[in-house]
Structure formats: structure tokens, C-alpha cells
Symmetry: C2
Subunit: 368 residues, 2 copies
């Protein structure tokens, strides 16, 4: 039973312009200036847990070359190319059908390609616990991010009943009688998943926080491939039917043509709505490894180390003078002097420069 | 009696960073985005009045190549290279001694290489009148810029007695009896030059404006070469002596070596102090052709056409949103979005970006 990683890399990151462009969106960029792109960081984060031969990427046809360049060593048969965007349910179905064809016993972690994790060690601990948990039975687990503020930019997950025993024993069920591992004391609680909630208004978000029963929906899922395929068959039979038609061509030269022909007949629906809200097998594990979907410049500002004047500066040639609360992201080596700026974004990428108020970041996509 | 143009091009324009750099200062840049550099515009401005074979440039040794590139067709013997900066008196002496060696009857216009003129037609009218005036006798004429505001960044010239008849007759003295030219009615008044005044404080500048007897010192001079050489001999004998030593090498391969050897023995003194304040031959003609020394980004802001929100934008890829009072100067073709900025300078040149408050422009030279 091998662990597989599915990286969803079809997004276009329009709010992160000018760094993110339709030709090279956020997941293929080194947003944080660390030397690794977001998708590379996503892959790196699983180091030691999941091998490159078990990595799968679902992306747009336009980005195939970027994926091959940035994740060298990936099996080209594991790069799945969507001819059009059909939200996450068809995407999950396609990759799950294909993983099942290769490894029917696979345990799968589904992750977005462009999210940020601050503590990779705690992330790995959560992944390990989650994989153990879903391997212990027919379970669909989502990682809920412990909220740190009444964020209105994320969806929320409501927790149901706490399950009795999320220990290693669930996975080691075959080895009764052994003493519980010392790791048992490090395990996170796991809950039945009660419901998904759309992005709330501020008042609702504050109420969510107060109850302690809501976490942010990060879009990270874990399951055995057999479980999700079975649930998709039950709750999204339309999609399952299409996948069954494509399946005979998997790993052949005819696969892409078949996908191109049938994929856009799938309904546009998220995996949350298609399966998670209906299945009886859904669980949520609150996690605290410092997470952001890096959806906006403001989230990057929050997560980048700041100087005493709350400036977050990425780029080694930037000199800040009498400025505060700014998010500055300039190419390495570029000489920049910024004086007298407050709460602004300054970002240049591929020769395009954006200067705007942080408070107006939601409008960035209107301007280019 | 030919008309000659001397362009002083030794400045370093440090307040105009990042456009202006020690390697390529302001006069060699297309600051206004017109397709012509400042020194080219300076030359262009005399089109029809002074031919390229009568143009002289005094500049630093570092800029010889830039001058040759930008003023193609100039006689290489007319590019005078200062080994060090000694203010304007030695510079004027050097070029005057050399012009006299080539054309003892020359009438000369001395201009800075990096100033802006808004109305070239009125400029040419003033030049023509000025050349006629100095050709009519032993006279040293300076063009005083009619002040439009109590500027504290310029020196001022005090006017003395108005001279009786600045008409064309002064030049046509040999043709008595002819009716005065119709141009006579277009002529500007000319005054004896009473004194030079240093950059004033605001109160003093306001008083100057009120009297109507002060103009800005633009550093534009006109004279016959014989007049200025004679006055330099009288009032700056030290400098004259040095020029007499260099003169035998003019137009030979030994000239530069001799200049390099002797030039730094000249006193550091401006032509204003060395000659203009002492001579009995100094006159001032108020002129109104829209002038700026373009010393700062603020002056460029004032002089560039502005949109309804007082933004002056140079660069065809710049989009201004909810911004006002900004001076933006970006390379042609560069895509830039600027939102929510007020009274700021945004300028990029050679890959270096400056963003700062217009009010702080005097500090720019500290930042690079």
C-alpha cells in the first residue's frame, strides 16, 4: 500500500498579478524568493513521505511543460492535462481513476500546488497521521486549518462529533496487543465532518471562531483511492460514467484525445459538493502548521518576515526609507529605493510593475 | 562674423537619480520622453541660427564618447574635455580662447546642456535679438528668465537702468537712413546688469517678484569672443595666463596633455563672479520662453503635461488609477499600474526604480 501525492495545479492566480500571469500562474513562481517555486515547495514538503514516482499532477494543457521543467523526475504519465476547467470533482475523478488503474491499494494525499505552509515538520506529522487514519478503513479525511483570525476570504468546515480513538492503533489494527506507540500522545483529534460553509461575512466568521468548532477549508484531502472512486460512483455517477469511458485508454497514446473529447461533458462541480457533503465517510482533522492559500498580496505580507515598520520585503536590492506596512516583491538584484510609502504593494515581475494600496488588492485582477 | 554655440555639458545631475547617473547624467538622457536627449534638444533649439560646424561642447573627459554619439557631425576639435571641474570661468575661458584662435570675429551663445525651453520660437527670437545686440558693440548679454513664482532654487539677476534703444538699428549701425525693421516692435527691453543675487529665501524671493526688477539667472550668455577674452584678461588674469600657455597647442595632438597638466591650476570660480559682476559691459535681457533648469523631478512635474489629477506621466505603458499629483517616468513599453498614490515620484531607469514623495526630492541624492 503506497502513498501517492496528487498536486492540483490548474489555477490561474489572477489576484497575484503582475507576478502571476495566465502564461505562468502563481504555482509556477518563486513567490517567496526562496529559490523554489510554489509547486516545487509543495512537492518538497512531502520529502521522505512520498516518492517522486508516486506524484501526480493535474493541470491545464498549457502548463504541461512548466510541470515537467519544475518537477523533474516525475513520470510523464502522471501529468494529467485538463483541456478545460471543470472545478475539482472531475479533476479528482480523473486522477483517482488513473491511480486506481496503476495501484488499486494507493493511499492518496490531494494538495493544492500554490499554498504556503510555515512549519513543514508539523505538516509532515499531520500528513503521516492522516495517511495512517485513512489506511485504517474507508475514510475520507480533510485537513481543517485552525483559524487564527475571523478570515472572510476562506470557506469553513464545521466539525461534528469527535471520534473516539484517532491513535496509531487504528492503522495497526492487525497488531493487537502491542503497546500504543509514544507517538499516540502527539496525535491530533479527528472529528466527523458536519458541513461545509461558504466564505462568511465578518460577523459570521467571528461567531465561527468563538465556537471553536470551525476550521478553514484548505482543500487538502486524504483517502484510499478505492474509497473515493466508490464514493464518486455513488454520489457523482455522471462523472464516474465519463471516467469509465476514458479509463480503457489510460497510459496509451489515445488517452489525451479521449480526455479532450469527453472532459468538457463533465459537470462543473467541486469535490466538496459532489462528495464530501454527501458521504458518510468524511472526517476533519484540525491542523496548525501555519497555512495560507497565498491568495492575495496581503496574505503574502502577513506571512513574510517583516521589519520594524511592518514592511515585508522580498528582493535583495530594495532599500526602504520612511515607509511602513508595505509588501514589496522585486526581482533579485534589482536596485530599488522606496521612500514615504504606507500600506502599499510594490511588485515587479517580468518587467511589469504594480504599485497599489494593500487595501485594494481584491481589485488587482481588474487592472490588467 | 559667424554665430557660434557653446554647450556646457559637465554637470552630473545628482538630484535626478535614478535617471541621471555619474556614468550618464541628465544632459545625455531623453528625460522628457521625446526621442531626443537634453543636449540634443539644446542643439536642436538653435536650428537655422547656428550651424553644427560652429557648435562647441565643454564637458568632462568621461563624456566625450556620449557627446560624439549624440551630436553627430560635430567637429571633434570642438569637444573640449575638462580633466576636472573648475566651475564656469575656466570653462568659458578655455572655449573662448579656442574659438578666438579659429574665428576671432565669432559671436557666441553660451548655454547649459540640460535646460528645458517650452517655446522654441520665442527662444529663437531672443537669441536672434541677443546676437544682434552683442554684435553691435563690446557687450556681454545675459538672458534673465522672467520669474513666474517666488522660486528659491534659482539665483536672481537685478536689472539696472534700461538702455535707450535695443532695436535692430544697433546692429545695422552701418546702414543709417534705412527705416527701422518691423521686427523692432517685437524686441525685448534690455537693461544694464546691476547685480547677481544668490538663491534667496522665500520672503526675499517674494520681494524680488514684487519689484519687477529681478529675473532668474539662467546661465545663458552672449558676447563677441573678443569681448569676453578681453574681459577675462582684465578681471581673471590668473586664468588668462593659463589659457595663454595652453593656446599654442590648440588643434594639435598636444592640446589635451597640456589641458590635463594646467587646467587644475585654475581657480574654482564662476563666470558670474569672475567677470559679470565686475565688468562695465554687462546687460540683461528678460526673456519669457518657458524655461527650467530641470534641476529636480518637481520641475519636470511642473513642466510635463498633466492629466486631470495633476499626474505627469512619461512612458506609454503607464496606467494611473485613483492617483494624483504624481510624477511618473518609466521606460517606453514598460507595463505599469499605479493605484492610490498621491504626490509621489515613480521613476525607473536602467533597471533601477525610485519611489518617493515629491516633497522629499532634494534628498534623492542621499539615497543612492
Amino acid at each position: 500500500m503506497a502513498n501517492h501525492l496528487v498536486i492540483m495545479a490548474g489555477g490561474i492566480g489572477s489576484r497575484f498579478w503582475p507576478m502571476s500571469t495566465p502564461q505562468c500562474p502563481k504555482q509556477f513562481l518563486d513567490i517567496m524568493g526562496t529559490g523554489r517555486t510554489m509547486i516545487q515547495q509543495t512537492f518538497d514538503r512531502f520529502g521522505g513521505l512520498i516518492d517522486i514516482e508516486h506524484v501526480w499532477v493535474v493541470t491545464s494543457k498549457n502548463f504541461a511543460e512548466l510541470v515537467r521543467e519544475q518537477l523533474q523526475g516525475i513520470n510523464p504519465q502522471h501529468i494529467l492535462l485538463e483541456p478545460c476547467m471543470r472545478n475539482t470533482a472531475p479533476c479528482v475523478a480523473y486522477v483517482s481513476w488513473k491511480i486506481q488503474a496503476e495501484d488499486p491499494e494507493a493511499a492518496v494525499f490531494v494538495a493544492a500546488s500554490d499554498h504556503l505552509v510555515i512549519s513543514p515538520r508539523e505538516f509532515q506529522r499531520c500528513v503521516a497521521q492522516g495517511l495512517d487514519f485513512v489506511c485504517g478503513g474507508d475514510r475520507i479525511l480533510t485537513l481543517g486549518m485552525q483559524p487564527t483570525r475571523p478570515e472572510t476570504g476562506y470557506g469553513y468546515i464545521e466539525q461534528g462529533e469527535r471520534i473516539a480513538d484517532p491513535t496509531l492503533e487504528t492503522h495497526d489494527a492487525g497488531k493487537k496487543g502491542r503497546r500504543p506507540s509514544a507517538f499516540a500522545s502527539l496525535l491530533s483529534p479527528i472529528y466527523k465532518l458536519a458541513s461545509f460553509r461558504e466564505k462568511p461575512d465578518l460577523k459570521t466568521a467571528e461567531e465561527y471562531l468563538e465556537t471553536g468548532r470551525y476550521t478553514w477549508n484548505s482543500g487538502m484531502f486524504l483517502w484510499q483511492v478505492s474509497t473515493i472512486v466508490s464514493e464518486l460512483r455513488q454520489y457523482a455517477p455522471e462523472i464516474a460514467e465519463i471516467m469509465d469511458k476514458i479509463a480503457p485508454t489510460f497510459f496509451t497514446v489515445k488517452e489525451q484525445a479521449m480526455v479532450d473529447k469527453l472532459y468538457d461533458t463533465c459537470p462543473k462541480i467541486s469535490i466538496d459538493y459532489a462528495v464530501m457533503e454527501k458521504t458518510q465517510l468524511a472526517y476533519v482533522m484540525p491542523a496548525e502548521f501555519g497555512w495560507s492559500d497565498l491568495g492575495t498580496w496581503g496574505s503574502l505580507h502577513t506571512l513574510t518576515p517583516q521589519d520594524d515598520d511592518r514592511n515585508a520585503v522580498i528582493g535583495d536590492g530594495v532599500k526602504m526609507i520612511e515607509s511602513e506596512g508595505c509588501m514589496v516583491r522585486m526581482p533579485q538584484g534589482k536596485q530599488v529605493v522606496i521612500q514615504g510609502m504606507k500600506d502599499m504593494i510594490v511588485s515587479e515581475h517580468n518587467g511589469t510593475l504594480l504599485i497599489c494600496q494593500l487595501s485594494e488588492e481584491q481589485r488587482i485582477k481588474e487592472w490588467h
